[in-house]
Symmetry: C2
DNA sequence: TTCAATGCAAAAGTTTTGCACCTCT
DNA sequence: AGAGGTGCAAAACTTTTGCATTGAA
């Protein structure tokens, strides 16, 4: 909690209960939640928090580089507080988004030549398929 | 044209003027258009064609593996008739989506171990950044 | 006290759906 | 003739916006 306050201050953001709650949730979870999921998860403790605030807050976090947005198909974007480049596995059946740690497949931009005439800011490596649980259910 | 008809038949899809037009456009372009862009491009020649048909057709094409959907952030999905895995460069300034041919960064799923408990169907490697043209304009 | 953040409601935008009609096979 | 595709309008969803109010610095 103390750390989050500090991180927000370092990024010259005002420290509000909403921001603390959202960032804390993103740091704790591994499920790469959507804005809606964040909203529903925090609602019990923060009944007055609005979905608009979540979107605005996620925007601020993105700009500050505290969070990355994952466009994984499906209705809505997913958010990840781990901003270093790393591959993701996305189940097209249940929508689950999982981290996949693999150093050889992280920071792939370093493997590109310098002169491609395109300044890369960030990268996303997404593997779409069927997860273990869904495969079980179908069989 | 004859080829498109054949491809559709091979995938047991009825051959309609709308499908031919949409697939033909996707084969010819390199701009990775959105549904809206396809609609506007084809409107002059196919004034009666509806946006709903484009979405339904793209869905069929996706299921048949004739087209891949790119979730590149921004408002709408983009479509690519090149379905073999290849990296894309996405300009966060103008929204342009470009192919980037690089054999070392294609079919990355082959570099994963087999036993990860996840059946990969397809992959997307996206590099986000600023393209040459946008960089020029800012300076 | 001041300026940014929040909450609410409305708006905007994309994608989906239902259904009658049409058309490919 | 029959199954499937199309077009239209409405609906469903996610995300954004405007503005009055609140709260952090």
């Amino acid at each position: 909690m103390k750390e989050i306050t500090q991180v927000l201050r370092e990024n010259s953001m005002k420290v509000t209960p909403q921001r603390i709650a959202i960032y804390q949730m993103l740091l704790q979870t591994k499920e790469h939640p959507s804005a809606e999921t964040i909203y529903k998860t925090l609602s019990p403790d923060h009944p007055a928090m609005s979905l608009a605030t979540i979107y605005k807050t996620l925007d601020s976090f993105k700009s500050a580089g505290l969070v990355q947005e994952l466009n994984v198909g499906g209705a809505s974007s997913r958010y990840d507080a781990v901003t270093v480049a790393h591959p993701h596995l996305i189940c097209t059946c249940c929508g689950k988004v999982m981290d996949y740690k693999n150093d050889a497949l992280s920071n792939l931009r370093e493997k590109l030549p310098e002169n491609i005439g395109f300044d890369i800011a960030f990268e996303q490596l997404l593997f779409y398929g069927i997860c273990k649980d869904c495969k079980k259910q179908v069989q």
